[in-house]
Symmetry: C2
Subunit: 307 residues, 2 copies
């Protein structure tokens, strides 16, 4: 069975000081620190592409060992801000940058904050069905490219990052179950308008608070599990205030659900793998991941340690 | 096992007369008719979105019967020219337009001419792995939006269309085997430059002629089959000249490999399902599909009648 063998990330060193940015916007520093929960926002520079950031994440993965380029037979990129407007697909560009062989399936997935949970299942099941053994699943969605510089709500929130997850037939984690949902009718909460991101923070907050705990509960029940049986909850790091409330409403003990976005901001589909990277060595037994946002789209999955 | 239950398409009624267009470009009418092989090019109007075209394809599918909206639990859109630049994903917009339920997995796939063969396997395997039963796989890539009006090579070639394939657990066809390849290093043959499509026709031709027959051969061998055992070859309808030569080089009898693009042009990921729609009622036993283009990316799959 295929699953997650390892994870690595690239977080640009170039960072915006978010408290200084708050001053510029006339925003309250305490609000930025305590409610948004973000002190630094990493930013790709204009000449740094999605492919560049993904290559950097791949270098970090290589340093952990166990990756031979000639073995890679599948490469997937999840982004809604692809290089060259996505034609060709970003995964083809990355295929060239990494120098992979022809016998490698590559495609892009268009999803936002739910993209990691969806994407893991998409690449795993595609590889399984086609007898592929070692794949790379990248996330990189640099919202800095589409931020409206006048919009403090989004400018104070989103950070750039890239991650790569090695999917293989010698996995540390395999999927035990998952739920996937969509509500296109609510898409105006977070969408691109005239090339810029527009966000209705309250609508996103209400969505997270109402629908995410419900999906988590439904997933746990479907697996005959409860909150107590899960060792670690990795929730999309939307904002501190949204996370605190969603975690509370889902009845999750706060020590099981890390909130860590002060140095990264909301990195869209990269937020969950950034958390996972730090914890995969500890090998918690059961991990529940939940991503939610753009679409509206939300997805939750339970991964169990493969021993 | 999941597979293809039915297929439908939407081809805009508004069409460009390609011979008149040839005159405008000072191109040879005979070349346009015999080599490109395209007399009419369907065009979405500017206010007709990808979602609109997909809804029209869905209406055509509904008329064939057997589709209940409340049963749809997965929706995938393959495009590299999404509405709203793909944020939110086009599948979320379509989810709303069709009025689907929340418990529906939606995502976009970024692929060009290989997108139908890849996408079928992506949605089938994702649904299978997650216990989903009835899904809709849409293709719609309106290149008219990115054509350079000065570029006769592309303007005389690409047409707009949309298709939808119903994936279900009572399929007419199931996948028997597939091969997926990528050569990112050759991507400049077909890419977006400054918002417009740029194509190196000779590079695409050489690629199709060299790599597609090789992949078909390798796929047939992997399944212990040969050309004679396949009843129908559905190849991406790139251009008449490219098809004739690729078919010949692959050793496929011409009566087994339809060339039908005179009324549609090259419709990117929609070309294979447009062919399939016309033939699915005849239920040929073994169908080999092969898509190739942007990326470079190529994919071939054998589908067998599910009896």
């Amino acid at each position: 069975m295929l699953g997650i063998e390892n994870v690595a990330s690239y977080i640009p060193e170039r960072k915006i000081d978010n408290l200084e940015q708050a001053d510029k916007f006339g925003a309250d520093r305490e609000f930025v620190e305590k409610k948004i929960g973000v002190l630094k926002l990493p930013r790709l520079s204009e000449d740094e592409s999605v492919a560049y950031a993904c290559v950097e994440a791949f270098k970090a993965l290589s340093e952990k060992g166990g990756v031979e380029l000639e073995e890679i037979d599948c490469l997937v990129v999840c982004t809604q801000n692809p290089d060259r407007d996505g034609l060709p697909h970003n995964s083809a560009i990355l295929h060239a940058e990494l120098g992979l062989k022809d016998e490698c399936a590559c495609f892009d997935i268009g999803l936002g904050c739910s993209g990691y949970v969806y994407g893991l299942s998409i690449i795993e099941s595609f590889m399984q069905a086609n007898g592929l053994k070692r794949g790379l699943f990248f996330t990189c969605d640099p919202y800095s490219r589409i931020l409206d510089p006048e919009d403090k709500n989004t400018c104070l929130l989103f950070g750039d990052a890239a991650t790569v997850t090695l999917i293989s037939d010698s996995p540390k984690y395999v999927k035990a179950g998952a739920k996937f949902s969509t509500r296109g009718a609510g898409r105006e909460a977070l969408e691109k308008v005239d090339g810029k991101l527009a966000m209705n923070g309250r609508a996103v907050f209400n969505f997270a608070l109402m629908d995410v705990p419900k999906q988590i509960k439904s997933l746990l029940e479907s697996q005959e599990l409860d909150v107590a049986s899960i060792d670690l909850f990795l929730l999309h790091q939307g904002s501190r205030f949204m996370l605190e409330n969603t975690i509370k409403r889902a009845g999750i003990p706060s020590d099981k659900a890390p909130i860590e976005l002060s140095e990264t901001g909301n990195t869209v589909s990269s937020s969950i793998p950034i958390l996972l990277e730090k914890r995969i060595r500890d090998l918690p037994g059961l991990v529940l991941m939940s991503g939610f946002g753009v679409g509206l789209s939300w997805a939750s999955a339970i991964y169990k340690q493969n021993s």
